[in-house]
Every structure is written in C-alpha cells, then in structure tokens.
Amino acid sequence: MDLDALGSCLATPACVVTQTTSGLIVGMLLFLVAAGVTLIFGVLKIVNFAHGTFYMLGGYVAYTALGVTDSYTLAVLSGTLAMALFGALFERTLISRFYGANVLMQLLICYAVVLIFDDVVKIVWGPEFHAMGMPPAFQVPPFFIAGGVVPPFYAVLIGIAALIAIVLGLGLSLTRFGKTVRAAAINPQMVSTLGVNTTVLFATVFAIGGGLAGLAGALAAPVRSLSPGMGFSILIESFIVTVIGGMGSVAGALVSALLIGMVRGFGTIGFPKFTDGLIYIVMIAILILRPQGLFGRRS
C-alpha cells in the first residue's frame, strides 16, 4: 500500500489526467462486454458464460478483415456484425432450447461453447498469439492535457464506447423496440400475449449483446494480443461489472465499469500489489450495502 504516492498523484493534474484516461479506456471496453451480459440477463434471464467468446471472435474476425480490406473501420464493422450474427444464431440454435433450464445446464452449454470455439480459433488462426498492429491513422504521438498523457487512439475508443452507451441508453428508454425490451425484461409472457414476436426479440437482444462484445474485441485488437482463450479474463471482470451494477441494468453496467476502470487506474498507484484484490473488495463492499447492485431492483 502506497497512500503517499496515491495522494501525490491525486494532487497532480498530470497524474490525474493520465490515470483517469487509463481508467476510462479499461472501463469503457469492459462496459461494451458487460452491457451485452447484463442486457441478455435482463431480458432472457440467461447468464451468458460464453460472452468472452464473442469478444475473442470479434478480435479475430477484425484481424482477418484488416488483412483483407486494409481498413481498420471495415475490420471493426466486420467484427461487430459477425458477432451480432453469431449471437443471433447462438440464441436460436442453442440457448433457446434451455430457457427456464437449471442454471447449471446453462453453464455447461456455455462452457462447452467456450471450449469448442477456443479450439476452433486454434485450428483457424493457430495457437500462437497474433498482433494486429496500430492502424496508420493512429500512429501519432499522444497529446497532453494539463501535462497528462492522452493517446489519440484511446480517446477515439472512449468516444466510440461513450456513443454506444448513449445510443443504448436512449434506445432502451425512448424507442418502441427499447420499451418492448424493457417490458420483456419484466414480464415476457405479457409481452408475448400482446402480440410481440418474442422469438425475434430474444434473438435480437442476443445479437446486440454479441455485437457489443465483438465491437470491444475488434476495437481492442490493435493493442491487445489475440490468442485462444483471451475471452476468459475479460469475462470474469465483465461479470464483476454486471454484479456491481445490478444484474440487468445497462446504466449500472456503465457506472460500475467506469468504477472498476478507475479502481484499476488509481489502485495501481496506491495499492500496487493489491489492485486485483481491491476490485473484489469494492465488489464485496457494494454488495453488502446494496445486495441488488448499484442500479439493480430488489427481487
């Protein structure tokens, strides 16, 4: 524990800006994955343990698409759309057969999918890591705010994730589709009785969740090594985000992802040997104070 270093950092604008940027990029990428997890749970009551696989495949598809198109934008779009399609297929062909099933059965199915696609990645892309490399447009020096370092690539990533958060928030609260999704989260039988095609609705929700995870994987690919099994580490943190934010709450996912990001960003200064532990301490503290999570509803 180095509280002096933390105090000194918090008193220095340059340190605050640098660590805040660090926290934002970690948090926003986590949000994109966790938003899908929480959305799927909110509507379908399915804990999608295979969500990390969407993140992994999104990165790999983007990596291949970049090689074909030489365009990072098209690569990101490919990763996102491919995972949206994969999400819908996953829901229709597998998950839909296990609605209402024991959570252990859901866990088993999802875990099987994780293992199968880890092996598929090994066969298709090889077992070793791949690095996409930074797109030429972002191979520029970082800019400085109050002496703090802000990488342009991360600024763009944070902007995209923030835009997604706004679109998702407004879409769920203002559009007819969003209202239907929220209604289905509360009472799916009633929504179905009122004539809404819940088959399409559920597949769409899975497609959105998968697409968001694919987007996160594709956006992160230029800086993170791509390797089989890479989805697992982000899955654990995205579940922490989902639990802290409140299962089913997209707003909660955003707030808690940013909270985890900041704990990582500043925790590494003040608690360098306990940063991971600190995240779990925060989770436990929040769950003691609010067992339903920050934005969750009491059941």
Binding site: C9, C15, T18, Q19, T21, S22, I25, V26, L29, D118, K122, P127, E128, F129, H130, A131, M132, G133, M134, F138, Q139, P141, P142, V149, P151, F153, Y154, A220, P222, V223, R224, S225, S227, P228, G229, M230, S233, I234, R264, G265, G267, T268, I269, P272, K273, T275, D276
Partner: protein, 411 residues
Amino acid sequence: MSGLTTRRTVLAGSAASLLASPWVAKAEANTLRIGMQSILSGPIALLGTSSRNSLIIEQDRINTAGGFLGRPIEFVFRDSKGQPQEAARLTRELVNSTGCELLIDAEASSGSFAVQEVVRDLGVACIHTNSETSSLTADPKIRAPTAFRVARQGVHDAVAGSIHLADYANAKKLNKWATCSPDYAYGRDTTAQYLQFFKQFKPDIEIVGEGWPKLGQPDFTEVITKLIQAKPQALFTLLYAGDLSAFVNQGNVYALFSQMTVATPNVDYPVLAAIKNLPAGIQSATRYLETFPDTPANKEWGQAYLKRWNERPTNWSWQNSVAMHFYEEAIKKANSLDAKALAAALTGMKINSPFGADGTITMRDDHTMVGYAIGWGQTTPKEPFIVDVKAADWGKIIELETEWKKQQKYI
C-alpha cells in the same frame, strides 16, 4: 467388376492386415515414447510451439540415425495451457497411462516446479527445457535426482545482463530505472537477481517504479501509466512472447519508448516479427540469434528450422534441441534408459553444440547446463535484428553465481 475388385481388395487388405498386425504391434511396442507437455495455446503458446517444432526436427534426425538403443522415438505432446496443476496431471498421465519412458518438460517456471515434484515421485528421467528460474536446480531442496535443466538460467542472464546494462547506464548516465515483469516465480526471482547484480556493478541506480502484470494479462494500460508517472530514465522488463508484444504495442500508444530506454533479455525472432512498430535501440540479450555465435553450424541450424517451419526459431527451440542431444549422448554412454543410469551419465557431461559459447555445453553437477552463448546488443528493425553483440564472460558469471548461491545458502 468394380464390386468384385472392391471385395477382393477388401479381402486382400484384411488378410494383409491380419498378417501384418503382429509386426505393426511389435513396432509400436518397440517405439520409445517421450512425453512433452508445455504451453501450446494462449498468449505465450510460442514457448510451447517453438519447442515442439524443434523436437519434431530432433525426432526425425534421431530416427534417421537409428533411434535410441535401436528403438525409434516418438513424441507425445500435451497442452497444459500454462496451468501448473494441469502440467503435473499431464506428467503423471504421460508416464502412467501413455507409457512415456523419458520426459521433456517444456513448461515455463510456473509449471516446471509442479512437474519437478511429480518427477521426484515417479523417478523418471526428465529434462526441463524452458524454466529459467534458478532455484529449480540451484536449491538442493528443490532439485530432483533424475531431473535436469537444459535451459538458460535467470542468475546467469542476470550477471551477464547486469554487467552490460551497468556499462550502458554509465555511458548514457541512466540512474533512474523502473522494472516491469510477470507476476510469478520467474518474473519475481529473476528481476530480484538482475537488480542485485545491477546494484553491485552500478551502486548509484535508483528503482523508481515497479510493475507486476499477471502472466497473459490482456491490458497493460495501468502498468504503463504508472511507469509514466514514475518518470524513469530506463525500463527493465522480463515480459515475453505475446505479453511483450502487447506491452510494446500498448506502450507505443503512450509513446512510452520515447520517454525511456528499454532493456530486456527476452526478445526472440517471432516476437520481433509480431511487434509491428518495434522501437529501435532496445538493449537486448540474444536469446537465439543466427549470427551469435557467428558460426556456420549455428547458421545452418537456424536456416534448417526456418526452412522446415517457415518461421524462425526461438530461444526455447535451441534449448529443446540441446536437451535431445544430451539424452542421445547419455543413453549411448549409459547404454540404458534407466533414469538413475541416465542421471549418472548426464552429470558432468560435455557435448559439442552450435549454441555453446566455445562450441560446447556442459551439464554441471547441480543438474543445470553452463557454457551456452549469452550476448547483449541492441535491436534494429531489420536483419540481423540485434547488432553490436558483446559476448558475456562465463568466468565472471560462474564467480558471481557461486556468491549468489552462498547468499541463498544453497551451498
């Protein structure tokens, strides 16, 4: 007609199979299985795959030369995914269920310590080919009677690297250093060794920051920004393979390498190839370099590997190749596959090798090899990738290693 032909073919094939099957079974029974488990998937799969590639080349070479004691050899490869408990389980399975008579443990240190205990229990012959943590063989309590290490050792690299880095730091007036190494036995122990010797050669250095990312951690942002806050003049890192690649790519985003000099002993050819924007001038050890030692035998081996696998070898590749040469010589000497007989033959054995500093490598009494080529130079984006390589002084390495062992109460 075709149906008749098919029936005849099937009948003839069946008869041939019946007649041949005892011979096939006998040949299979005669085959000497060698178990190898390693990290064959994930961010540091390079460790396992480049080891496996090298062993396949060795398998072909040895079988062409008549095998071991007249028996063809066959490797059985298993993926531990870097999990120590899985490495230990696989070791038992390879010996007890798969019938492997010799073992190559190509795990990183995280797995090798677990494998060591299984080897001690089973009493099988084993060569660790990738674990660099010194205590695996240096600590007599951990050393196992039938287990040997054919891998570079942290303490050797620490002495060689510290001498080079002290000279470099003095020349460039670099006193403020930070470290960033993986958070497990190899990273912690070897960083401590480097710092101990570095301070011995340059007492005025100050460590202003430390980063300990997890093995296979996807995001290094918090570590990088912490290093930026610490404002070191130079950074020493033991990250490797996919982790090193991700760290460099994420560090480039923050222009980290324009703010500090970087030193690492862990740059290998495939990592150089995977890092898209490799900063020039990284102070680097030669883990494997075709041009160091600059001999025809070394170049020939590197080119043969490249031709076979369409990629360049790593440090782990040559270590696994040397391990098989040690097995080969020990089996000839002992005329046996018995683990105790092999252990006696291996102890003190010296073999000719293109990877030796003087053309030879010795298996010392403490079950670890010495005399392999160690050099330090600086990276360049094009071939030969590391230039201005200076060879380490093995006399100094042994002298300081002995001091270190005394401090640790190993001797």
